[in-house]
């Protein structure tokens, strides 16, 4: 295993929600989540909307102040410390390539801004050179630097967003649903761009998405979240072929496979009901209200994440 670049230990992120005139209830968006990411590795993070996967990504790069737990970058604790000197090492690519680019700035300035902030050039010529290099890196041409974001298609905009993240030469990028706003034929272009960059520059990714097929394709390991908690963490192929947690099992069986024959042969495990409100979390295991195997023990306590061999972690009492 390569050197650990990022470690998240018992991360908690609560948001106070007003539930009455003087009353607030904590919304436990992320509750006790731990994982590590190795150098140049991709960790996939999947789960349904509202399960806290985006919050995990945002807490790591300090867009939120974590309520509890610790985050280590390269062995140094950064949870409450000022991380300005690490901003350069950790970047983010956002889901929506339309709202995450300033419409009043040229592409050159969008990509150049991080260079300006971190003073990564010695003169105008070097700045221009760096911007051209970055555009080339993500598959755009240097003429694009003088244009505005609205002149580009969705896929090209996402490339601009990636170039901006790469400008400061980061070691780790949080990719928050980077392809879900794009057309099918364009998604593959962006996925390949991410892979090429990783091979070339050795960047580690936290790849957040709800499309399991894409996450499996991108990641070495996958973590599954449900209602703010990690329920399973395993190697990508291991998780897809032998999921253990009942939630992961039904998630895998619910993925629509683009293959009519296996779609006909397969048995979908359809979950009953909806995800409970995170304000009214069930006691014990969060998944027990929709679980076929729920027993009394599940009502009493949240199962811990335990190793089932070969780095396959599962949080379930009954499986």
């Amino acid at each position: 295993m390569s050197k650990t670049i990022l470690e998240v230990k018992n991360l908690k992120q609560y948001f106070p929600i007003k539930t009455g005139l003087f009353e607030t209830t904590p919304l436990k968006a992320v509750d006790d989540v731990s994982f590590t990411i190795g150098e140049g590795e991709t960790l996939g993070l999947v789960g349904e909307s509202g399960c806290g996967k985006t919050t995990v990504g945002r807490s790591i790069i300090h867009l939120y102040k974590p309520t509890g737990g610790q985050i280590f970058y390269d062995g140094e604790e950064i949870t409450s410390a000022n991380i300005e000197h690490h901003r350069k090492d950790m970047q983010m690519v956002f889901q929506d390539p339309y709202s995450s680019l300033n419409p009043r700035m040229t592409v050159g300035d969008i990509i150049g801004e991080p260079l300006d902030i971190h003073k990564l050039y010695s003169g105008k010529a070097e700045r221009k050179e760096k911007i051209e290099y970055l555009l080339d890196l993500v598959g755009l041409s240097s003429e694009h630097a003088t244009r505005y974001a609205h002149e580009f298609s969705g896929g090209q905009r996402q490339r601009i967003g990636i170039a901006r993240a790469l400008a400061v030469d980061p070691k780790f990028i949080v990719c928050d649903e980077p392809v879900s706003a794009l057309d099918v034929s364009i998604q593959a272009q962006i996925i390949n761009t991410f892979e090429d960059l990783q091979n070339k520059l050795g960047i580690a990714y936290l790849f957040i998405a709800h499309d399991l097929l894409i996450v499996q394709h991108m990641s070495r390991r996958i973590a599954v979240m449900y209602l703010g908690k990690l329920v399973e963490l395993a190697g990508a192929d291991e998780l897809c072929e032998h999921p253990i947690h009942p939630y992961s099992v039904s998630l895998m069986s619910a993925v629509p496979v683009p293959d009519p024959k296996s779609a006909r042969a397969r048995h979908r495990i359809v979950l009953e009901g909806d995800v409970p409100s995170p304000l009214k979390m069930p006691s014990g295991c969060a998944f027990r209200t929709r679980c076929r195997f729920a027993s009394e023990k599940c009502v009493e306590a949240m199962p811990p994440l335990t190793d089932r061999g070969g780095g396959h972690f599962v949080a379930c009492w009954n499986k």
Partner: protein, 335 residues
Amino acid sequence: MSDTLLQVKDLQTAFFTDAGVVRAVNGISFGLEKGKVLGIVGESGSGKSVTAYSILRILVDPGKVVGGEVFFKNEDVLKYSKRKIRSLRGRKISIIFQDPMTSLNPVYTIGNQLMETIMLHTDRNRSEARARAIEMLTLVGVNDPEKRVKQYPHELSGGMRQRAMIAMALACEPDILIADEPTTALDVTIQAQILELMQDLQKKMGMAIIIITHDLGVIADMCDEIIVMYAGRVCERGTADEIFYNPKHEYTKGLMRSIPKLGQGHIRLQPIGGSPVDLLNMPKGCAFASRCDRAMKICLSEQPEEISVNENHCAACWMNVKQVYDEAAKGGGAK
């Protein structure tokens, strides 16, 4: 065929915008038989939703159907009077939209909206309509339907709202249900619930379904037949197996190569290069030519005709025409 419910012939729809005329649908033809599930797949802007809206005549300005015919049970829907088309919508052909939050009225209760549809199209009175509304909600798996009819859309979760939409669409037992991206806004596990529900209801009620989506997984799961659209035209059509295992149009082949498949190990994806076509500046020849690796001279200058690959499969690609010629030439040479 006698079982053909809907026959669309050379449908053309254009949007007359300030920037110019956008030909969103450019000569689409297809038939839909009773009890079949037809999938229309394509990327955004390929004209799949506009096709559905044209059939029901719910296009908004500046969109207009500029040519073609839409036969529902041998009557041309496009020639219907405004009054008559109203009796078709919701009664004979229903539609469910992608986003259940914006397609339900926020100031009326679920029950109210369901009852409105039922009372408009049938001669049931208020209490009968209410009973029918509860019956429909039960059918689509909404828990506690007596309580739900009194609730407003914002009180329901996304999956529940989509169920309510489906209940509304099916309340008058239509012959055709058009589902426009029915599960795109939903999570995977909820998507599985809704797809399962639609399959169940289709078996029970025997209606035909048109599913419009960009998700090839949903298509593979649900459809008997598939139409692949690109830039307002049909580029390929056929049974699900033919399209997935024997694609003949370069665009379809590209789509199949560009999606990751479960459990095939790590194979590098092969994306389709370039960007989707600009509908304001449509090329003269095949719209896909600029992104196609195997484009020939003729692709740039002339629109390919649809030719049949076999009885279950048609494709509009010059490569297939070339293949036919090549084979004929080879055959001729051997003689």
